[in-house]
Assembly symmetry: C2
Homo-oligomer: 424 residues x 2
């Protein structure tokens, strides 16, 4: 039934029926969680051979360096070569970090605040105002970095093929205080969409009023296809260099969702000019990151093919869960007219838009029934979803049974909240 | 022979004789290095059992947490308990980091610049000037952090029992722009001295003009005795709390020179008020550091006793080398009156003061003979030793034979440079 066109009597009757189902589920005392965008233990087990073959006899790098000792600030040459093969970015432009690409991102913006970047008239902390474009819905941890550092966030819609580029181009061309922009270009968090080639080209080529504008390209889901035929993403690093805007790009990725989220290897990449300003600060900050963990990773995943084979196994796990989410949404909400959702071919999330001004109510109904959702508003700067409609679903962590159960609760809550709003 | 009192003829004859010895050594084409303050491979081998027992079956923390996954920002409870036992600081005040305490130190000052600390009227980057007291000779990487962030450094002598506290007290009481001070309180880099109880108490109790003055207490050599009877250091964290100045202390240490410099575990500790301001920034910067490496460390070194046993083995290795350095200095320079040096009971360095205005010449003579020394001036802010007399000797890394050979070249260079100066 299409709820929007239904009569009041139909809606009232339906509400009462759904409410009974909901109350029954509440009585079951469920405790389920759809909020955790992290791999399950089952997925992590796929990487355990990395620990089996540990570094007891493998601590000397290809160039003879003893990885147990201090040094190698930019990361082992073989680890940089690995990431170069994976990303298409030259190894000389790659810096290997610790276990967290978020840490590299935060530090990169903190450095911009304290020192500026190539082309900055002054450190960003000496600017009267610094603004970032934030694509919405987006990743809460990106927004939290801006908020923590007092960077003003401007919402721009993320469309099904990438950023609303007309808006982005108009904003960056006219406002020199817009210094940056967050992007999760492949299997975006939370909508799961991948930027079209045209979006990437326009980002590479657009004119910016700020001489030191930077795109923070968080390619967290680079190799994280769930469907057999994954999305492809144009190489912004190369496109920006071709357009003469190579300094525009700070690229980030990690093995957090390839091997272990808590003990992976992160990397960033940047142009020669950016690197020339960054390395002198990095060398003051640390003598070098954990190279034994780099060796561990290289022994387990020596190249792109090995990564692809490994990610196929992870995809099997995720694919079952995405199917449950999408099938339930289709079955329960497909004809209601009260919700839309994305159908990603990879990544970790499905984004669900419910009837405007009902997302918080859905959240509360789910909570009351023992199902934890990502906090409403988390996908927007300052935690405020202006339309109160977006919900981020994270299917990777729960068991298949738990996920099915949680999805039943969720779609009931979506329908109840919509009927309440329509009947009000 | 005492060179200072020698006749010109004596000095000329001696110079010519020593020069012959030096030229002969130059002809040998040596390639030796006294500059590297890092453990030798032999020392690192002592920690290899840590990798033998890896995490294949030990990745679940005591509270059931899967250490492979995201989370646990402040570090595993058992790792914090370990550091609490080692340092005497309450576990609740401890934050476990990645592999580098230098990284924790840099980040702590960067945070102070961007956000201020407890009691700051404003972020330090908004102050007209920020100054730090730097004890000299001291650790170049501390000075490099200040220089990188535009913090002005004020030299204060490090005496044989700690900082020149009269100078320190006078400076911090009168100048509110002095916001901090670097200390390596035990087996100081490079002099190897340990602060007296009185020094520590005065640091804990002194009045400061700045409401947000901080002591950066880099206790890198906490358990690094070389002699059987090591130095003892009063607990600044406790003393400062007792004096009502608990917020004054940022404490740092790591296992870098206990297990592996490149893959150890670092920690910092701070008062409740400091922690309350720090954790909200840390949670924006990272989801958590490598907990598998914490588990590895705990399996290998579960407690303070295990650490003490392990460090005894390291001491055997270092003790031989310290003996060579000190015996050679005594033998070759003991009666010359042209040099003084420290005789540390632990740590990684011996500090040698040569005749003023001859250290650079000594460095050059050593370089020409194939012996690399730590750069002259490195032990002072801005790389400038005002008296050009301090040399840092790092005996841990070379083999015993190489070290003996290098020391012979060094003492020859010291004598030649002194005679050149005295004859000029």
């Amino acid at each position: 039934m299409n709820y929007i066109n239904a009569t009041k009597a139909e809606k009232t009757a339906l509400y009462s029926e759904l409410r009974k189902q909901y109350d029954a589920l509440c009585a079951e005392g469920l405790s389920l969680d759809l909020s955790r965008g992290k791999p399950s233990g089952e997925q992590l087990n796929l990487s355990m051979p990395m620990l089996d073959n540990d570094c007891t006899e493998r601590y000397i790098a290809q160039d003879g360096f003893d990885c147990r000792n201090y040094g190698v600030l930019q990361g082992l040459p073989e680890m940089r070569a690995f990431f170069a093969e994976l990303t298409g970015i030259p190894a000389k432009n790659i810096v290997v970090g610790g276990n967290s690409s978020l840490n590299l991102m935060y530090d990169t913006i903190a450095r911009a605040m304290l020192y500026g970047v190539a082309g900055s008239p002054r450190p960003w902390c000496r600017e009267e105002k610094v603004k970032f474009i934030c694509l919405v819905p987006g990743y809460d941890r990106h927004f939290a970095i801006c908020q923590s550092l007092g960077i003003e966030m401007i919402n721009v819609p993320l469309l099904s093929d990438g950023p609303d580029m007309d808006q982005v181009e108009a904003l960056v061309a006219s406002d020199a205080s817009i210094k940056g922009m967050w992007c999760v270009p492949k299997y975006s968090n939370p909508t799961g969409i991948t930027y079209s080639d045209e979006s990437v080209r326009r980002l590479a080529q657009m004119k910016t009023a700020a001489p030191d504008f930077r795109i923070f390209w968080d390619n967290a889901y680079m190799v994280h296809d769930v469907e057999n035929e994954g999305d492809t993403l144009l190489d912004l690093f190369a496109e920006a260099h071709a357009a003469g805007n190579g300094d525009r790009v700070f690229f980030f990725t990690s093995t957090s969702k390839i091997t272990f989220p808590g003990a992976g290897v992160a990397m960033m990449a940047m142009s020669d000019a950016n690197l020339a300003l960054t390395l002198p600060v990095l060398t003051v900050q640390t003598i070098g990151h954990d190279k034994l963990n780099q060796m561990r990773h290289l022994a387990f995943l020596p190249n792109k093919d090995a990564v692809a084979r490994h990610m196929k196994k992870q995809a099997q796990h995720l694919s079952r869960r995405f199917t449950i989410v999408l099938d339930t949404l289709k079955q329960d909400l497909g004809e209601t007219g009260i919700a839309t959702w994305t159908e990603p071919r990879g990544g970790y999330f499905v984004s669900l838009d419910v009837l405007p001004h009902t997302a918080k109510r859905v959240y509360d109904l789910c909570t009351a029934a023992g199902v934890t959702l990502t906090k409403v508003g988390a996908t927007f700067p300052y935690g405020v979803d202006p339309e109160d409609k977006n919900l981020r679903l994270a299917p990777s962590y729960p068991s298949v049974d738990d996920l099915s159960q949680a999805m039943r609760v969720l779609t009931l809550a979506v329908r109840l909240a919509a009927l309440e709003a329509l009947l009000a």
